[in-house]
Amino acid sequence: MEILLGSLTSGLLIGTIFALVALGLTIIFGMMDIVNFAHGEFLMLGMYTTLFASGAFKIDPLLTLPLSAGVGMILGIVCYKGFVRFLLRGPMVAQLLGTFGLMLLLRNIALFAFGSEDRTISSGVLVDRVLDFGMGMVFPATKLAAGIFSILAFSAVWLLMNRTRTGKAMLATALNPQGARYMGIPTERMNMLAWAIGGATATVAGSLLVNFWSVTPFVGLLFVMIAFATVALGGFGSVPGALVAGILIGMITEVPGLWDFFSSLTGSRWMAGVSMTPFKYTLVYLAYFIIMLVRPRGLFGWKR
Amino acid sequence: MTPMLEVRNLTKRFGGLVANDCISFEVASGELLSVIGPNGAGKTTLFNCIAGVHRTEAGCIIFDGKDITGLRSHEIARMGLTRTFQVYAASGDLTVKENVMVGCFMRTSSRSRASSQADGILKAFQISRLADNLLNELPIAAQKRVVMATAMGTRPKTLLLDEVAAGLVPQEVEEICSLIRFINTDMGITVILIEHMMEMVTKLCRRVIVLDYGRKIAEGEPESVLATPDVIKAYLGEKYAREYSERIKKCPPSST
């Protein structure tokens, strides 16, 4: 029982981060129908930003969040203005391959600049501290902080999208770009804003991960695929969907661990000795596939 | 004689909106029928339902003696019921002749036969010289011809034409009319038109069906139907309908 709850909370926490990553992706997709393969690389760059900033200034990684968000915003805007907007008028093949190229570019620039070794940091106030609620619900403080900040970031974006004029303008542009233009909404600026938010949420998510996920230039692909699954489950373009789906996907990644545990407990010979844990993320890819077949609109999606 | 097409109590809903409400009518083999009505009356939806694009909530459709309710659109097309589209976006990769060949390929799997059939159809439609042009390079009248030629490639028993005259000038409308007459009279193909151009409807068809807000409100010969107050009200509104019926009472129209 404790193991179950422990898994659930673990899944919940990591799920909030998945949700944050998915948030940026879903906003960009909702806005301009572009699937941003490079999204995971933004996350990766956020990780490196925090790595270097907290190392250089000797501060807690959490304090580097504003810097990370700034980097993310600039990165998003630069990518949009410098490249993505040219993709918008092309065929879909070009859009897919284009952001894929951007992904490769960012990944290999990072590889060239930072080298390929794994790096970890374990610094800051919260490391090695743990919050224990009993019954197996153990929250390592770093992960808990990550989860809390994720939710904060999420709420900030949600407020922006739903309670401000800018947010409404963005929604209008997403629903009908042409019409929005007629209403005097500067759609170019809305697109840029979407990328700024997308970039920032991804880099912040990366920064939150730094204390418990090793930093390499190659984390991008995994996270972007997880983000796709999350966005698909939540519904392309839906902000609350991203949160719910993120948490669900987070829990899904805990399933193989639980499975291994239970099968070792009961001594079952299912899977003939192969552990399911390497398939943590494979399960996520499968989940994407199944979601798209059963309910392509996702839980809350409005864009099909 | 069994009718070519029988529609019984067809009902189609989109959420809360009833697009087609209990529509029934018959079309005899070789007939030229027109479906008219104001915009939003449900004419294209009706075509979509008959052609298998939409699933209907109620009613049945019998084509050539067989029940086609619920069949998918490509199956219905293969049975001999072909429809054209009012507007459609195309990625524009196919030339005119290739377009017509796609139609012909429904009936044959041999490229050479499809090619020669397409040549024949292009000639009959007098667009042979356009054979190698891309569809989006052509003016609207020519595009409409290509669309009809492609539909003819499928050798249909019944053709559903959705506003083929839209956007055409009177001369082009004339040409389309003679084409339709040729298809119907000389080739014996049953034709159902959705049209807004009343001159075309009255000239071509001996029977029209009028839809308004999803319901069939009138059926019969064009002149008499068009003089029905309900029909006038649907198109022009209550005020004109009243005015018109008063004028009719004072001075009945002379027969043409």
């Binding site: 997709f29 129908d33 699937v35 490249f83 040219f86 993709l87 065929p91 879909m92 093949v93 070009a94 859009q95 897919l96 391959l97 284009g98 894929f100 190229g101 951007l102 992904m103 570019l105 290999n108 620039i109 590889l111 060239f112 080298g115 692909l221 796709f228 699954a229 698909a232 398939f279 993320y281 494979t282 890819y285 499968l286 994407y288 596939f289 798209m292 392509p296 | 052609a51 694009v53 659109s73 490509h74 589209f85 459609y88 976006a89 195309a90 990625s91 524009g92 990769d93 196919l94 290739e98 377009n99 796609v102 390929f105 429904m106 799997s109 490229r111 042009n133 891309l134 390079e137 499928t154």
Partner: protein, 335 residues
């Protein structure tokens, strides 16, 4: 019979194009005779291999407009089938290759039926997902050598071994893949002139209209998918015999799927020569970049940076590909 005649019929292409193509074939046939480096030879062989991959992709991705970014899984199926059958049972290539194709086609039916309910981005991502799932599977499956992969023991065979497709001298590989290359062109030519080819192009144009003309869209896509995966799987089998050392990261990665699609896009999707032109540009470029830049330890990743930039430039500014440019120029002059 008619299908064969159609395949050999290039009459609808302009004569200038055919003359250039014929000349190019002659040059390629003569290539091994002239002095060349082994690097150039291996690049040429890679060129033929990848242009065949891309030609296969082009049927469903180019003519059909369904951007599939998961073809690498079928490459893997072909490569692994042949490798396993060769290593364990000394199976001849000419037996293991068709078996690989058979498995690949079966798999394509299994995933294709649900997959083709999706379109556009959703389809693309789903294709990536299935490919990654398979790759992850292969990375832990002991039967296929897990992440270490498989190695074909060359010493077991006496080269030149045509039955098992093991040669020490690359020239044999060259002529064999060149023959496959010519056959591939004929098959694609037959495809684009066939009923299925036309159906696919109509579907790409507007699938609602295609349905109204009696085309069973889902089935047409599945059939075409089978053709595409047959190409990729068959040549994957050859690829394994050539490289003799396969592992999931090399043969089934997302990068390969992307490269296959990219070559077709660069050369011009939906055209006969497009994928070949794309391969002719990308493969030498990748090879020489890797040689020149990748090997030096200080410049890790620069070749890939250049590669990525090329992808971005093409996507942003000339997505219709080289053949698209040619086509447009022709229309302006001819019409």
């Amino acid at each position: 019979m008619e299908a064969l005649k159609t395949a050999f019929n290039f009459s609808d292409l302009p004569r200038s194009e055919l003359i250039i193509a014929a000349l190019a074939c002659l040059i390629m046939a003569a290539f091994p005779v002239f002095p060349h480096s082994s690097f150039a030879m291996s690049t040429m062989i890679q060129f033929f291999i990848f242009s065949l991959y891309s030609m296969g992709w082009n049927t469903i991705g180019g003519y059909g407009g369904q951007v599939d970014l998961g073809q690498a899984q079928f490459l893997g199926i072909g490569a692994y089938t042949t490798s396993i059958m060769l290593i364990r049972w000394d199976a001849p290539f000419w037996v293991s290759m068709p078996i690989g194709v058979f498995i690949a086609v079966c798999w394509s039916f299994i995933i294709g039926y649900p997959l083709f309910r999706l379109r556009g981005h959703y389809f693309a991502i789903a294709s990536i997902a299935t490919s990654l799932v398979l790759k992850d599977l292969f990375e832990v499956w002991k039967f296929v050598g897990a992440s270490r992969g498989l190695e074909i023991p060359v010493t077991r065979f006496k080269s030149p071994d045509l039955l098992h497709m093991i040669f020490l001298n690359d020239t044999y590989y060259y002529y064999l893949i060149f023959c496959f290359f010519l056959i591939g062109i004929l098959i694609i030519n037959g495809f684009r002139r066939s009923r299925l080819g036309f159906q696919l192009r109509a579907i790409k144009d507007n699938d609602e209209v295609a349905r109204s003309l009696g085309i069973n869209v889902r089935w047409a896509k599945i059939k075409t998918y089978a053709i595409a995966v047959s190409f990729v799987s068959a040549i994957g089998s050859f690829h394994a015999c050539y490289i003799k050392n396969i592992e999931p990261e090399d043969t089934m990665s997302l990068d390969i799927s992307i490269l296959i699609a990219l070559m077709a896009m660069l050369g011009g999707v939906g055209s006969l020569w497009g994928p070949i032109i794309g391969a002719a540009i990308m493969i030498p470029m990748k090879s020489y970049l890797k040689e020149l830049l990748g090997a030096r330890s200080g410049l890790v990743g620069i070749d890939l940076i250049i590669y990525a930039s090329v992808i971005m430039l093409i996507s942003a500014f000339e997505p219709r590909g080289i053949w698209g440019i040619v086509g447009r120029a022709r229309r302006r002059v001819g019409a």
